[in-house]
Structure formats: C-alpha cells, structure tokens
Symmetry: C2
Subunit: 492 residues, 2 copies
C-alpha cells in the first residue's frame, strides 16, 4: 500500500496493473490467465450486476442457467461460431483422477475414465442454449423467449491482463428467440441501448454506439451492435456487444416454429453480453495517479469517516458525534464506513481510501469537536473543505450527485477532444501515433482495406457509428467512394 503508484504518463500499462492490485480489486491466481476477484472488486461487480439485472427484468427478460460444458458435437454445429472459438477453448477429456503408484500422495489422470465425447468449457453459450431452445419452441405462442444468464466463461487467451482479458471471466449473456427478423433486430438494438445507458448514467463512461464491420463481428452473427469507450491513453475499449444472429443458430440446430397459419419457419435470434471487462473500463476512464476514482453509483463505500484522536476520551466524543450521522446515512441507503481500526494510523487510512477511490472522505479530530466542524474531501478533484456539522447531509447529497456527473462530463470532454476528423492516410497515421484517440475517417467498406490499415497501423474499425449523418467522401486508404465515416482506433 505504501509504495507510490507509477504515474500514468510514465507507463500507463504499468499504472493500470499496479492500481488493480493496490486498490485491492483483483490479482492473478496460480491458474494461468485466471484472476481472483477480491471482495472490493467483487462488490463493484455486484453493484453493476444489480443495476443491469434490474434493467434486463424491466424489459421483460428472465434469468436461467445452462450447463458449463458444451459437447464437442454441439460446439461444432454452427460453423462460423465454432471456428471463432475453437482455437482458444478449454477441453475436458477425463472425469477421474487416480493415485500415482510411482509417487505416493500424487494423483494422475485415470486413462480408463476418458470421455467418449470431449466437453468444451463454454466460451459463450449459443450452442448449448439453441440446442435446448429446440425443445422449447414449437409454435408462435412459445415466442419470444427472452432469457439472460449470469455465468463464468473460459477463452484460452494467450496474453492476459486483469479484468481486460482473462482466460476465465464473469459475464451475463442474453439469448433471445423471436418469430420475426424485425423483432430480433429491435431486441439487439434495445439491448445495445441499455448497455449505453448503463455505461453512461451508471458507470459514468461515455460511449459511442455503432455497428461492427464484418471482420469485427461476433462469430456467427449477421450484425454486431456495440458500445465503444475511449480510455485515457487514447486506446478504445469495446464495452459491450449485442448481436443479431439471423437464423444461423436456428438453422444449425434445426429450431422451427409454426406461425399463426401453421407454416414452419426458422426462429430469429439475438445474443448480447457485458463482462467483468467493464471493471477495466471503469478503472481506465476515471482513475488518476493517486489511485482508483469511483463514481458514487458503483462505490462499495460511498463515504468513509476517519476519526483522529489522541485519547480514549476524545475517541468516545468523536463516536458520540459520528454515530448519529452514520445512522442517518444508512437510513438514506448511503453506504458508509466508520474506519475505527486502532491498528492503523489516520495517515495510512487516508492513503488506503484514496487509492481505493472512496468518493467522499470525512475526517474529524479534536479541533472539529470544539468547533462543531468536520473536514470533507471529494476524491474526484481532491478538494478538501471544512464544514459545520449541520451542513453534512446536504453536502453529502450534493457531492454524491456532483461527483457522479462530474466524472461523466470529464470523461465525455476527454472523448470529444480525442475524436478527430481525418481526411488522408498520412494524417491518420500521424494522429494515431502521436495523439491516439478515435479517428473519424472515410472507408471504402471492404475487408481488404480494413485488413491493410490494421496491418500497417494496428488501428481497427471500432464501429460504424449509429445516429450520424450520411456523408459522402473518399476512403483515406483506397480513395474509393465511401458513404459514411467510421471510427478507427487502436484498441484493448
């Protein structure tokens, strides 16, 4: 805790890695690429889950749970999806260990317990779910199916980073089934809008809503909607995706329904998900060289109160002042911690709660007792002031709202200032290497051009923004005609 955090401008990546550990959010485990999400980090995830779950249920979705494993024969049924995930999946081949006769106390795989068919640890659940939906859907009366699942998934990533890219991660995956193409498209759009609303209003992360280009689409999707956010180092981060899957999975798993006139049709599908990766986005959007900065909506502790005293008597006096405040804050559903540990000094506590991003810190010492005052500190802009006891509730109400909106505006301004309109490839490359950020440029719509730009610059098309005006122009790379600007960036 005591060692200083690396500064962002010195090494952004190192700053991030250190911060995750120092703020007690997560750490690497002894399983390659898998993380341990520590209580403080998990408490943030719980707040995110609770809000998202509410939003999903308000739009008619229900939760369910499907198996962790996917039999290989189901996994390979939708070819594009299988191809997309085959290279990075954990495979269960045996169901028993036995004693190693050569090494007492050690275990080895029991070769007699080899599975007839290998099981894939789900990297995503379309296959197992559509194989299940097949039995649930006979007629139009069984549709729509609007289901979400909170689950762990495994993708055997070679280069992992806490929250941003881990072999196992936690997420939610929605899987819906519809009788018409139009309804499925509307569902995919609705969920992308919900993700955007959640990111912006709840996490304070400004996002751009858009469509993925064909090569960035989810394996097996007809269209991928996404929200893209810009991190402080000028790299983009895909914060959520929602897929219109067409009839691809319905065809792969032979899922048909009888419409009102009795004719059999293939079902239309969507899937959509956000993951613990969002915690990485949260960290990189708001935090600073002093540590984590949390928007009040997501802070496990919104207010910390630190007593400063030299005698037991002073401590008792502070308690008698502070306890009624705590009761009233709790009654208002404000989460408050009275940090009265006597094993740590106030300076240590100040530092700890600063690095952990507690939005509001209150300190109260002997002088405050005499003057009926307290010191209140807001983590977002590090401003400290002394106020009277009477003002404390109004002040806290104000700060909780103000910090939340301030963090969003700050990030929004940053994103806007770092979104640049570019009209030629040299400028494109120069901005990409110097400033970074989103680059709005014309593209001819071909995979070939996209691949070349990616190969030459490492920039990818983050999205084709929705809600923008059509503007004709020429592709910065090929000079061929283009009908809309797209957003390029280097990305996480």
């Amino acid at each position: 805790m005591s060692k200083k955090l690396t500064k962002r401008e010195d090494d952004y990546s190192k700053w991030y890695n250190e911060l995750v550990v120092k703020a007690d959010l997560a750490e690497n485990s002894s399983v390659r690429g898998c993380m341990v999400i520590k209580p403080y980090g998990y408490a943030i995830w719980e707040k995110m889950q609770s809000q998202l779950d509410k939003m999903f249920k308000e739009t008619g979705h229900q939760n369910a749970y499907f198996p962790l494993f996917v039999p290989k024969s189901l996994f390979e049924a939708e070819e594009k999806n299988a191809e997309g995930f085959a290279k990075e999946c954990a495979v269960v081949t045996h169901y028993r260990l036995k004693n190693d006769e050569k090494n007492p106390g050690k275990l080895i795989v029991d070769e007699k317990a080899k599975l007839e068919e290998e099981l894939i640890v789900r990297p995503t659940s379309e296959a197992i779910i559509w194989n299940t939906y097949k039995n649930w859907i006979q007629s139009y009366r069984d549709l729509p199916i609007l289901i979400n699942q909170w689950a762990n998934v495994v993708r055997w990533e070679m280069r992992t980073r806490l929250f941003l890219r881990t072999a196992e991660f936690l997420w939610q995956e929605g899987h819906t089934a519809h009788s018409t193409k139009q309804e499925a498209i509307e569902e995919a759009e609705q969920m992308n809008n919900i993700y955007a609303e959640f990111a912006q209003n709840f996490m304070g992360i400004p996002v751009i809503k858009g469509l993925k280009s064909e090569s960035e689409r989810f394996a097996g999707a007809e269209e991928t909607y996404c929200i893209e956010a810009l991190m402080q180092d000028g790299k983009a981060l895909q914060a959520g995706t929602s897929h219109f899957l067409g009839q691809n999975f319905a065809k792969a798993f032979d899922v048909k329904f009888a419409n009102k006139s009795g004719t059999l049709e293939h079902v239309w599908a969507t899937s959509w998900g956000v993951s613990t990766r969002l915690i990485g986005a949260l960290i990189m959007t708001h935090s600073d060289d002093n540590g984590l900065v949390l928007p009040p909506n997501l802070a496990p502790i919104q207010v910390v109160i630190i007593p400063i005293y030299r005698s037991d008597e002073q401590f008792e006096l502070i308690c008698s002042k502070v306890n009624p405040i705590i009761d009233k804050l709790k009654a208002k559903n404000i989460s408050v911690l009275f940090d009265k540990r006597d094993t740590y000094k106030p300076g240590f506590k100040f530092n700890e709660h600063e690095i952990k991003g507690v939005p509001i810190r209150i300190a109260i010492g002997p002088n405050d007792l005499e003057n009926s005052t307290l010191e209140i500190f807001r983590r977002d802009n590090m401003v400290k002031e002394t106020i009277s006891f009477d003002e404390v509730f109004d002040k806290i109400d104000f700060l909780l709202e103000d910090i939340q909106s301030n963090l969003f505006s700050k990030a929004k301004t940053f994103t806007e200032n770092n979104t640049r309109i570019v009209n030629n490839y040299d400028e494109f490359k120069s901005i990409l290497n110097n400033e970074g950020g989103f680059i709005s440029a014309h593209w001819d719509g071909t995979k070939e051009t996209e691949d070349k730009i990616k190969k030459e610059t490492k920039a990818t098309i983050r999205c084709i923004p929705l809600n923008t005006v059509k503007e004709y122009g020429k592709c910065i790379y090929s000079n061929k005609p283009s009908s809309q600007r797209v957003l390029f960036a280097k990305a996480y």
Copy 2:
C-alpha cells in the same frame, strides 16, 4: 402440462421427476448429468440467494470470486480432501481444438495444445482459496477473513437427478480464516445456525441441527455441522453443511500468521455451503399430487389473477377492476401476475398455476363484476372462497403469512410424527423398511458399527443432534455402551 402427474403413493420418485419438469423448474441437458435451470426454477434460486446473501453480509461476510480451475498440484495438496474428490472430477487436459482433416466441418482436440499440468474443474474451492489466502495473511491484523463465493462446481456423479444430484450445480461456499480454534468453531456453528434459520423461516423446511459422524464428514474437515430434513417419503436430505477444518488446509498450504507477540502460528479455517439441491428439498417437503406448492417467501409469483370473460367488453371491465389491485399489490412488494394471455383458456391457466405452486389464485368473471366479488384460492390446502372486493388486500396479507406458517407447521408435524425412538435392531429394521423417517437410536460411536448398519439396512447416521440431552444406553447393533442417541435414516 395436460397429462396427470403420477401420484406420490404410486411412485414417489417418478412423481418428483415429473413434477420438476411439469412445473417448469428444470430439465436434463444434452450434457450428461448437467441440468438446465429454467426461468421459473431459477427465479426461486434467486430468491434463495438474495435472502442468504443478506444473512451472510449481516454477519460480516463479503463476496469474492476465485478461479474455476484448480491445478492438479494444488488439488492434491490436502490429501484427505483430494482423496475425497479425485474419483469424480472433470479434468481439462487441452486448450485448443483444430479442424479434423478427415471430416470437413468437424473438430478434434489439438494434441499440440496439451497442458503441462492438468486443471481440475473445482468440485469445491478449499485448495485454490487456501493457496490464495497464503499471500493475504501475514499477521493477526489480516484475520479474520470472512469470504463467500457464489459459483458453479462440478462433481462427476454417476447417478444424477435434477436438483438433488447433478454433475454441475450452483452453490455458495464460504471460506473463512481465523486466528484461534475457538473463533473458527464459533463461525462454523454460526453458519450452521444461519442455514437452519433460513431453511425453517424462509423455506418452511423443518431441520435437525447436528454433527456428522466421522465417516460422513467432509473430506478434510475436523468436524462437520449439518442440517438434516425429512422428505415426505421418509428419506432424509442433507440440506446444508458447515465445516470446522482445523488447521488442515493451513498446514497443506503453509498459511501462517504472526500473533500479537510475533510468534508464527497456523491459521484456523471453516468452510460452509448450500446448493441448488435445496430446491429439491423444497419440492419434496411441500408439494402434493396436484404439483408444486411454494411458500410465499420463495414464490416467484405470489398472486396470479385470471380473468374469465366472453366479450371484449367484459374483459375491459375486468381490467378496470383489476388494474388498481395490481398497482397496490406491487406497491406493497407483492409479486403479482395478471394472466391475460388470450391464447389459453382459463381452465388451462388454473391448471398451469396450480402445478407451478402459485400460493394465491384470484379468478374474476362476469358474475363477480355484478356482485363486486372475486374468487380467491389458496394452493396449500386447495381451499376456495368468494370474497368482496373490499376484503382483497387484507385477505392477501393474511394468506401470505398463513400459507407460509401453515406449510412449516405441516412439515414440522410430519417430521415429528416420523421421528421414532428405537431401542433394538429388529425394530430398527422393521421401522426403516415400513415407515421410514428418522430413527433415534443408541450407537456405540464406532465406524465399524456404522458401516455394518449401513451395509445391512442402507441407513446412515444423518447426524448426532445438537441441543439434545445426554442419555446413556446400549448400541442397538453392538450392545456396547452409548452416551447419546443419534439420528439414522435412509437418505438422498
């Protein structure tokens, strides 16, 4: 839905299996032994989670998340634990699939992607967690650690049944670390008490609190506390366990702390868990030949309202009467469904909600409109009455409480009536084969006797009850002296 449910007295096991599917709670998946928990079943699990989570947090526990996989070398570190789970665990050996060149479109395991060390899909997380705690604990100031995890686990059971025994199941597992033996024992006892309180007050399931005999203990525990419930067929079901793990895991993973005087000591541990198996207990405790019966606390839908009408005009009139009721119930946090589907007839709906165990059903038709009445039906005792509109809120409040307490008393009476004091082995065998239930009998305390009774009768010691008076007597099997009666039963 239409086909009649098998009667309990005809075939209890078949009744259970049919009920789980007909009440839309869960179904078997295409992965051997793994279930799909359907939205209605999952909604019950969510209610259980929410209440348990609240009780855990109120007693100072925090949630966290640890990896799904356990490297084999960690898995085998605590020998008894490893031995207990080695024979039933899913093993990941590879991390990639590749195209099968002989079968286009098919995938095979890529032998080049073989893991250096196999990964076990967690059957329980003591090993991975204690290997993590090792780095979290240096001094007494780091203790206690009070952590819970909501997770999926896998145990490769050969004979599976929905909820009761599945290869993958959902559960919570608490893992705590303490500086003294006494504190760890108190924690294990506290959590067993919380489980008992939850089962009885929330699920309406009466339980007996007790200790497991040595041979029934969790692999790696010094003492296992448990709650045992009696199902309607006279078989017992272990509904939750809490383990005092002594210093076994601390020693296996070398976890020591410096006490206040600076001496290094091994840490003391507990772990405790309940799982989706509790849904099986819920079903088998309360349900009847007409289907599921749910205590109001756990019912995803507490009140269903079914309109009966012949014309659109009648339907409109019913809506105008019913909508204010719905608003008021929702404001009181009572979950209500107005089943206005026009694709199903009232009779179908009555039957569906009956088999799904909705505690209160309200029906309203043309006559009711004239008389300002409605028909209210309680699922627990199938009693129907006509009441005036004015009475509806009081009636619902009364019924929600009365159904909850009635279900518990009914089950409690059943358990009491089926707990028999027995003093000789012939009577023991006769009761076991005819009446079933709990049998309170003297046992000499040896594993040998326990094993013989189990082999001869299939009855096991469910627990050594806590809070009972010491009573000296003679073992029903060996005639050796015994200092306390224990509870025997055949069990799930």
